[in-house]
Symmetry: C2
Subunit: 243 residues, 2 copies
C-alpha cells in the first residue's frame, strides 16, 4: 500500500475551509452537512513526491480526495511502458470502485508533495446513505471521468503527435485555469517530458522535438516545471483541430 503520513489534527484543513472543495465530491454540500461529512473523513495525510497512493492490483479499502498537489494515475504494460490515464489535480476524487473486494486496475503516484483526504469503505457507505446528493454527485464524477477517458482514447488513437501535444496542454491549461491559475503568466507545471509523453502515447524524445517546434512558433513554452502560453489563440486552434 501507500506510504501515507497521517497529519495531526492541528495540521488538518477542515472541509469547510478546503479550497479544493468546489471541484470535489462535496461540491454540492451545504455548510451544515459539511461538518457532518467531515466526521466521516477517516484521515488527512501527506504523500511525498514519488510515493504511491496505491498500486495496480491492490485492494485499497478507502477512497481519496486529493486536497492539494499533483498525482498521476497510470496502467503498466508488459513491455515496461505505462499509459498515464489521468493527471490528478486538487479536488480530484481518486480510487473509487463499486466493489472494494476487486483489485484496482491502475496505480496512483504523487509527482509533487500531496495532501490527501481518505474515506474508508464504511465511511463511504454511510455517507452515500446519509446524503442522496452525494450519490448523484458520485455518478456525475464517474460519468465525467468516463467521458474524458473516451476523449483520450480517441485523440490518442487517431491524431498526430503535434495535435496530441496541443490538445493535452490545452486541456491541462483549462483545468488549471478552473483552479484559479493565472494563465497569462507562466504556471507551475511539474510534468516531465516522460510523463506527458506517456499520457499521449509518444516517446519523450519525439515530444521534445515537438515542444521545440511549438516554442519556436511562439505557441507554448513548456519546460522545467513551468508552462507558459505564448499564443492562447493559436493553441486553441491547434487543439480544436482534433475534434
Amino acid at each position: 500500500m501507500g506510504q501515507l503520513k497521517v497529519l495531526k489534527t492541528k495540521e488538518q484543513v477542515t472541509c469547510l475551509e478546503c479550497s479544493a472543495r468546489r471541484y470535489a465530491w462535496f461540491k454540492p454540500c451545504s455548510k451544515e452537512t459539511l461538518a457532518l461529512h467531515q466526521e466521516r473523513r477517516t484521515s488527512q495525510s501527506h504523500l511525498a513526491v514519488g510515493e504511491y497512493l496505491f498500486m495496480e492490483g491492490e485492494k485499497p479499502r478507502a477512497v481519496y480526495t486529493l486536497q492539494d498537489g499533483w498525482v498521476i494515475c497510470f496502467k503498466s504494460l508488459a513491455n515496461g511502458q505505462r499509459q498515464i490515464l489521468h493527471i490528478g489535480l486538487a479536488g480530484d476524487f481518486l480510487g473509487y470502485r463499486v466493489n472494494f473486494d476487486e483489485p484496482i486496475d491502475y496505480s496512483i503516484m504523487a509527482i509533487t508533495d500531496c495532501t490527501i483526504c481518505a474515506f474508508s469503505e464504511q465511511s463511504i457507505d454511510r455517507l452515500l446513505q446519509e446524503d442522496i446528493q452525494l450519490t448523484k454527485r458520485l455518478f456525475e464524477i464517474h460519468s465525467e471521468a468516463s467521458k474524458v477517458c473516451r476523449t483520450n482514447l480517441s485523440y490518442v488513437g487517431q491524431s498526430t503527435a503535434k495535435l496530441k501535444v496541443a490538445f493535452f496542454l490545452n486541456k491541462m491549461l483549462h483545468r488549471l485555469k478552473e483552479r484559479g491559475a493565472d494563465i497569462n503568466n507562466p504556471v507551475y507545471f511539474p510534468l516531465t517530458r516522460e510523463e506527458i509523453a506517456d499520457a499521449i502515447g509518444i516517446t519523450s524524445v519525439h515530444l521534445c522535438r515537438i515542444s521545440v517546434e511549438l516554442r519556436r512558433s511562439k505557441i507554448v513554452d513548456c519546460r522545467h516545471n513551468r508552462l507558459e502560453i505564448l499564443d492562447y489563440k493559436k493553441l486553441g486552434t491547434l487543439a480544436s483541430a482534433v475534434f
Copy 2:
C-alpha cells in the same frame, strides 16, 4: 435521431424470455420483478444495418438495451477519422448518462440488423427508485465500462499494431464465448477491416497485412464476416504480451 422501427406487441420478446438478459442490466432481477420492469420498457424496436441509434451531439431522451445484433459506439474527429470506443453485443446497455439534458459524446450505429429495447428518461427514473438493485447494477455496468475504456486507452496508446490486433480479437473472442458462441468453429464476425482498424487506431491497410501474417502463422483467420481461431493458445500468449 435514429430510425427505430417499433415492433408490434406480438413480435416482441418479453424480458423473461430474453436470452440477452443474463449479460444485461436486468441480470439480478427475479421473475416477479421482471414483469414489473418490463412495463417500464417504452418500446422494443428494430434497427437496420447502417442506421444510427443516435448521433454525437444529440440528446436522446432514452436509454437502450441491445437485445440482439451488433452495434459500434464511436467518436468522430475533425479530420474525418473515427475512434470506435466499443463493439456493442447482445445485452449491452447503451446510451446512459446522468443528465439527459447534456448532449451525448459519441454515436451508435448498427453494423448488423438489431433489436433494441428502449427505456425513456421517466421509466429509468422510476425503475431506479423502485429497485435499489438496479441502481447498484447500473453502477457496476458503468464501472466495468470505464475499466474497459482505460484498458483500451492503454493498449491503443502503448502497443505495436500486431499486439493490438491480437488483444482486440482475443477480447472479442471471450465476449462471444460468454454469449454462447462455439469458438472451436468459425464464429460469425461482421466487423470489417475498416472497423477493427478504427477500434485499435491503425489503418485498414496495415491491419490487413497483419491479418495475413496472423493467418499464415496459423493463429487466427479473420475475414469475410467470420472469425476462426487456429491456435487458441498462441493467440492468448500474444494478447497477454500487452499487459
